[in-house]
Symmetry: C2
Subunit: 664 residues, 2 copies
């Protein structure tokens, strides 16, 4: 008996292990709450939603000094019985119906636990608490009466205040328009979808469940969408598409330039991206067999230029110093005001904050996903796309930068370069002795030479990296990227264009075009420039952080995901590191967007992180040029023992690089 | 010298008379503030806007024991001098520039006073404090720097925090899109238009002033718009138009019925009204020579059916008991979400609360405009349109009701009835002895018989009221509305249609159609029914309030404005009252909307009033039928001495009325 004179029973909840004394007669739902065990509930204890199912562990629990029996719960009454008739499940009880009559050990199955968690796939195996911005509530309203002058919206507010303790709510006009019909259909009972406990986004008749969201990574080249169940965190569908802005310019600067030179340039690119995003949302919904009306929340990320264009903001200020963002903080909107129509009418949309004018919301998403700021060891995260976004640091300090690598890593500016697509050479090996190459194309499991090997259409970024690295390892090119004269004149794979040698990776009969696929001196030079820009950026951050060795490297982005760590280190694309500690993490920006979709607290965390991250504007760092020139050689000048001859050639490379730097 | 060791000067501000000691060296703007004198200022003391102009009263002021001289102010310096060069004004100083050097009497001209007031025209001469929801602020931002990663929006927020003490602001996406261009054009200085000190609606380059709003009364038949300067309260233009929904149904119930019988009925009526409202806004702006972009705030009112249709809410629930409103409280929106596009992109819109399902936001506006709740005497306000909205009460208690008068007062259901338009008979006199009628039509200054009198096209509501009242006064019809047999057979103006007499108001040669305009027995009956419905409603409210006499009657609405109080009392349309105390107040609903546009506190007051007003649903009052029947006679049964014969006829009238009541 407790001090209020009630009989008390001892309860243990598994798997959390929370336990304590509760008054006899309490529902299990209230008992759980009083012991800090949060159970799911949409209907608020009306024995309707079935979200709070639990079971009784029968037996003697000496450890807890109690005997648990099903009979220690009140009998199943009519309403609960009706529920089980509709949704049969053996041995389960509704926690909102069953009352405590004795000591109990209660087992809460995972689907009944509120605040669910999911494990984000990837190296870090991060746990994501499922705390979306929206929740669904079932509520029963008073019917209208002639002497009650209140509107139905006011009556719904009263019901939500009384039944759920909510006040100060607003409702979107488009949702308001559906209210009376929903009340009529639901016989005065409705399920509302509530955003941030402040605004009603949707009203559905009677009891309804299901709220979905989409996270979208708007890349310069690729759009990737992830449709998730906002209650469970489950990913229901993904979809990807080309960014249709590519036709206005391959890289970011050419798109900014398009906006500067065409009066409606920014508007055209905005319309193009919105059209594609709407298509993507419809595709995702269709793949998951959902009505787009069920999508109520969005999180979008993108680099700063994509961020501005998708918000309909002219990116012209991002085209030159001081690279002023129109807005750096998070943006919260109605999806329809943003331009997304393939969703619930009042759906919400959140854009993560940008780190700087040249370091956008995509890198913020990478930061959320990889969370180097939560690690003791120093981690380098490189997201390589048209620009390379770099994060370096640990629990104490995080630095960010953006390196103008240009599009060489994506296969542009390369003679036979192409995007990563079926038919593109993605793997290359060159036999050191014979200098004989073999390759593998995307979409085929076999290396060239095998009878089932597919013909090549071109060479993509990861293929070029491997090709150049293998050319260096086999001595065809030297540490400064120049074709080795001795080899060039003796090797059957070298073809001469006038006085310039080029290396044939795929012979005419191995390609779809019937013409050989080659690596030229210019291709090598383009890769040198790109990798020098990337490596110089990383060096500057390492210097700034005061570290000479990196514990772990994570390669993100579509390119990073396919790159071979060994070849990347061989070329000096990334600093020396235990190859086992160089890992590909896939689309980390998309992953971060998905995490912010499923957990609203991460959105707040992003605002603080944006302030904490130290942004290094590497283009204006005095030592950038020197680092850049040093990084032109393979693997890197700093790590090559300098002979007098090498030193002469290094100086020459500096001159060449300086010339090329100016045209970068 | 004050306690801080500063020299103090004595200042007096005219015309407020506020006075006190201030420290020498303060600007007049700060000195005024410290003494509670609020001066206008948009630029925040930057000597840019010129809103804080004042002048010095020179002379000896024995009463204040001080001598005031222009030389008691600091000299005019370069920036102020530059202002006066651009805007010459003799003897004025900018209060934000001039510093106090001695005792002063400062004269604040009306245009420099903050919190302006205007006098609302009308019987009550109400003073409206000009406190709109928006204000304009001039602000100078820091230019972007390479090492400052904040966005321009964040920099603007910092500047507004530092220069104006504002925080927690939001910005509309469409406004955000214009921000960088405005900063560029304004050389980092902009003028922002702020709504409720929370959201930025507009950003203009450099110093800019001018914010306008439109109040709109959406009547069943007529739309009326009032364009106002939100800073001064001045009305710059008005515009009116027919409600295009008339083609879907003359009265409210036929429009509700249209929505019920056509699947897209409500949507069609919504589109029609929005099209007309946008046209109206453009007309107003054009009449005031303004770009519609300058319009940043709207207040709309309308009866509950118009309220729902204009918000895009299906009015079907308003078609029958319990007449449930979808929303009864105020609605705050973006004008574009409402569907108004002829305004600033981020313009706001407010719809006043409704009193009840049959007593809309229009009657709330009438209540704000006429404010019977602020009066000691008991006031009746009747707004007669298709429905009659009634307010009765005083400081202690306010009752509201709506009477289903039907459209007879608007000329519908009357043989030669028509809307009030040029050519319609609006005034009628019948010579008691000769029973000879004369009339006057709208648009003509002359009575019929005059050589310049215009021919008649029909008869409008006020004309019918006068005609029936004059017929009664001249004995052509009796107290029960029946044509008097004796007169009917002898009067040359009586024409017989079979066995039914009718009275010729205008002979064939006096009309545009060449056919006479007559008042039939049915016309008289229609007026009787309408006036009985109105009067019965008023009676019920009087009974409920416990008053038998009304101190003052105000007739509102287009019809109320033209009605002759004497004839209205003669017919028993309104209760007996000193005719000098029966006044027409014009479009009180439109006036109330305008007041809520200019003073945001009235919007809050409306919410409280909506709760305080007692709504009487007269259709379900047990005594309504009896009151209705009593009110069928002229002036009213209750006030007619009952002879046995009259009593017989009264009973007959009751029977007739009962029959007709059922078909009402």
């Amino acid at each position: 008996m407790n001090t209020a004179g009630e009989l008390v029973c001892h309860l243990v909840f598994a798997p959390s292990g929370r336990q304590g004394a509760v008054a006899e007669g309490l529902t299990l739902l209230d008992a759980a709450r009083s012991l800090g065990v949060e159970l799911e509930s949409i209907c608020g204890g009306r024995q309707t939603c079935g979200k709070c199912q639990v079971s009784v562990e029968e037996g003697d629990f000496a450890k807890h000094a109690l005997q648990s029996k099903t009979s220690h719960l009140s009998a199943v009454e009519a309403r609960e019985q009706a529920y089980w008739k509709r949704h049969p499940a053996h041995g389960r009880r509704l926690a909102c119906a069953a009352r405590v009559c004795g000591d109990l050990v209660i087992c809460v199955p995972p689907e009944s636990q509120a605040h669910k968690q999911i494990i984000a796939k990837g190296v870090s195996d991060r746990v994501i608490d499922i705390r979306p911005t929206v929740r669904q509530l079932y509520v029963e309203c008073e019917p209208a009466q002639l002497d009650d002058r209140q509107g139905d919206w006011e009556r719904l507010q009263s019901a939500l205040r009384q039944q759920w303790g909510l006040s100060g709510l607003t409702i979107d006009l488009r949702t308001l328009r559906t209210l009376q019909d929903a009340l009529r259909q639901g016989n005065h009972a409705v399920s509302v979808t509530l955003w941030q406990d402040t605004e009603i986004l949707r009203v559905q008749p009677g009891y309804a469940e299901g709220a979905y969201g989409i996270a979208i990574d708007v890349g310069s080249t690729t759009l990737a969408a992830y449709l998730c169940d906002l209650r469970t965190g489950q990913q229901l569908a993904t979809s990807a598409a080309m960014n249709p802005q590519v036709r206005f310019g391959e890289d970011l600067m050419s798109r900014v330039s398009y906006a500067m030179t065409h009066s409606d340039g920014a508007a055209r690119m905005h319309r193009a991206i919105l059209g594609a995003l709407n298509d993507l949302c419809r595709e995702c919904a269709s793949a998951a067999n959902l009505d787009p009306d069920g999508i109520v929340d969005f999180v979008l990320v993108g680099n700063s230029v994509m961020h501005h264009i998708m918000l309909g903001i002219d990116p012209v200020e991002l085209g030159g110093a001081p690279f002023a963002l129109a807005v750096s903080g998070p943006v919260d909107l109605k999806a329809r005001d943003f331009g997304i129509t393939a969703a619930a009418q009042a759906a919400r949309l959140h854009v993560l904050p940008c780190i700087a004018g040249q370091n956008g919301a995509d890198n913020m998403a990478v930061l959320l996903a990889e969370a180097p700021h939560e690690q003791d060891r120093t981690i380098l995260v490189v997201d390589i796309g048209t620009n390379a976004e770099i994060l370096l640091g640990n629990r104490n300090r995080i630095l960010a930068a953006s390196s103008p690598t240009g599009p060489a890593f994506e296969g542009a500016q390369i003679q036979h370069g192409q995007r990563a697509a079926p038919g593109a050479i993605e793997r290359v090996r060159i036999e050191p002795g014979t200098v004989e190459p073999t390759f593998k194309v995307i979409g085929s499991d076999h290396w060239s030479g095998h009878s089932d090997a597919a013909p090549a259409t071109g060479i993509c970024g990861s293929g070029i990296i491997e090709a150049v690295a293998e050319l260096y390892l086999s001595g065809v090119i030297d540490a400064f990227g120049k074709f080795n004269d001795d080899v060039a004149h003796s090797c059957p794979r070298i073809r001469w264009q006038g006085r310039t040698p080029e290396f044939v990776i795929a012979e005419a009969h191995q390609t779809t075009t019937g013409a050989p696929i080659v690596i030229t001196q210019n291709d090598v030079r383009a890769i040198q420039l790109a990798k020098a820009a990337l490596f110089a950026g990383i060096r500057l951050l390492m210097n700034r952080l005061g570290v000479s060795f990196i514990d772990e490297i994570r390669l993100a982005g579509a390119f990073g995901n396919f790159i071979s760590p060994r070849h990347a280190i061989t070329l000096g694309l990334i600093p020396e590191c235990d190859p086992a500690r160089v890992v590909s993490v896939g689309n980390a920006a998309g992953q971060g967007a998905r995490m912010a979709l499923l957990n609203r607290e991460l959105r707040g965390a992003a605002v603080l992180l944006a302030q904490q991250v130290e942004y290094v504007s590497i283009a204006v760092e005095p030592s950038f040029q020197e680092e850049f020139v040093s990084a032109m050689s393979f693997p890197n000048a700093g790590s090559v023992t300098r002979s007098p001859r090498r030193e002469r050639r290094r100086r020459l490379a500096v001159t060449v690089a300086n010339t090329e730097l100016e045209t970068l």
